[in-house]
């Protein structure tokens, strides 16, 4: 087997995790990964030896994600509506999520795609600021402010969810 393809194959689990955190729906996430892999294969020659396959693939996938988000926004679709935790979208049967996980996944979906991508890239995927800025194609300062705002927004949403939950309990 081609060495490059073997390296790409090894990155699929990480790409799937990143895609899932961006899109939540498992099929849509895998569609994004598939698009990314297909594009990567067409551009195999652009991948310079020595360059980390992970960074290269994440860059490709991020561009696809952002393009998709822009198209969705242009069409004015309500694809980005924040979800009431655990109510609007049932988790796939084989994906057991704790309530805490579901709440944070829902909250993550509710923050802006740019902030979501920046936060996930650093907080979950473990890229450095320099690497993440490079992949997302933004200056380091922009990246930092997206991360900071993303984290604050996420926390705010979780606080809201907790408040709503306690109101519900009180109403009962």
């Amino acid at each position: 087997m081609d060495e490059k393809k073997a390296a790409i194959l090894g990155e699929i689990p990480r790409l799937r995790r990143y895609a899932r955190s961006l899109l939540r729906d498992r099929d849509s996430a895998d569609d994004l990964v598939q698009d990314c892999l297909e594009r990567a294969l067409v551009r195999l020659d652009n991948w310079q030896t020595g360059e980390s396959p992970r960074r290269w693939l994440f860059t490709i996938m991020h561009h696809l994600f952002i393009d998709q988000m822009r198209k969705v926004n242009r069409r004015g679709e309500a694809a980005m509506l924040p979800l009431e935790a655990g109510e609007a979208q049932a988790a796939p049967a084989d994906q057991v999520e704790s309530i805490a996980s579901r709440e944070i996944i829902d909250a993550l979906q509710a923050i802006s795609p740019d902030r979501r991508a920046a936060l996930v890239m650093v907080a979950i995927e473990g890229f450095s600021y320099a690497e993440a800025a490079n992949i997302l194609g933004v200056p380091a300062g922009t990246l930092m402010s997206r991360i900071a705002r993303g984290r604050e927004e996420l926390r705010g949403l979780l606080d809201d969810t907790a408040r709503r939950r306690s109101i519900r309990i009180v109403e009962k």
Partner: protein, 263 residues
């Protein structure tokens, strides 16, 4: 040691491992002196742990076959032209492998009752058929004239490599297809029509509980479903045809679907 004022920004940098090592002690001291900032930092640390935990399982999931196939350049889009030439022979081989299909279609006659998951598949397939086969103008979402797109789209959504079987030998032409909900997942429905306007539909889903096959009818005089469930997929052919004709159509459809899935 350089003295400087820390801000909230440093909380993020510290959390992300971007705070220069020589500033760490001063930062920790600042955090201790500012309970509000310390609490904020603790919340962010907890949120990050929750985020990581929420997605940790994804790394352990088996990689879907379609993604592996994408790496080896065997994607549905690009391979469709190639596949269309050789699946006919593969289909013939598959039918041989399946062997006595007509036999069990005739032999197993289950009307109602029995195993839940197979009944569920058959019931969903029949319900879809009853609703959409009756529609003249809105029976399908994507017409047969756009077959390549139809196959690619449904394959991607359902998570199986779908090839719309060629049923012309049985007198049926593809009308088109649509995407439907099925249990927790999605199903593809392909609609066919013969010269007299009689319609049959194929219902395919990636969900399946076990291995089984049989026929099913929700009502005595309603359409009948011939179904197969195997590991990773289930399919049903639904129509109001005489038993023998439905069995023949189903056999042909199944052989081709199987060849498509394995391609």
């Amino acid at each position: 040691m350089t003295r400087r004022d820390f801000t909230e920004r440093d909380i993020h940098m510290a959390l992300d491992g971007e705070l220069p090592g020589e500033e760490r002690m001063a930062y920790d001291a600042w955090l201790e002196a500012n309970p509000e900032m310390k609490a904020r930092s603790a919340r962010f640390v907890a949120d990050r742990a929750a985020l990581r935990a929420a997605f940790a399982g994804v790394l352990d999931e088996p990689v879907p076959a379609r993604l592996k196939q994408a790496v080896f350049g065997e994607t549905t889009v690009r391979a469709s032209a190639l596949r269309s030439r050789w699946w006919l022979s593969a289909a013939a081989a598959a039918v041989l492998v399946i062997g006595g299909l007509a036999g069990y279609v005739a032999g197993i006659d289950r009307i109602g009752g029995g195993n839940e998951s197979e009944d569920l598949l058959a019931e969903q397939a029949i319900a879809a058929h009853v609703i959409y086969a009756a529609e003249k103008r809105h029976a399908v979402e994507v017409p047969a004239s756009d077959k390549d797109h139809l196959q690619t789209w449904l394959s991607n959504r359902v998570g199986l490599r779908l090839v719309a079987p060629d049923l012309e030998a049985e007198g049926f032409q593809l009308v088109g297809g649509r995407l439907l909900p099925a249990g927790q997942g999605k199903a593809a429905m392909l609609l066919y029509e013969d010269a007299s306007g009689e319609r049959i539909s194929l219902f395919v889903t990636a969900e399946s509980a076990g291995k089984s096959k049989g026929t099913y009818a929700a009502e005595a005089d309603g359409p009948e479903a011939v179904y197969w469930l195997d590991k990773g997929y289930g399919c049903a052919v639904v129509g109001s045809l005489p038993r023998e004709r439905l069995a023949a159509v189903a056999k042909s459809a199944y052989g081709q679907l199987l060849a498509g899935l394995a391609s």
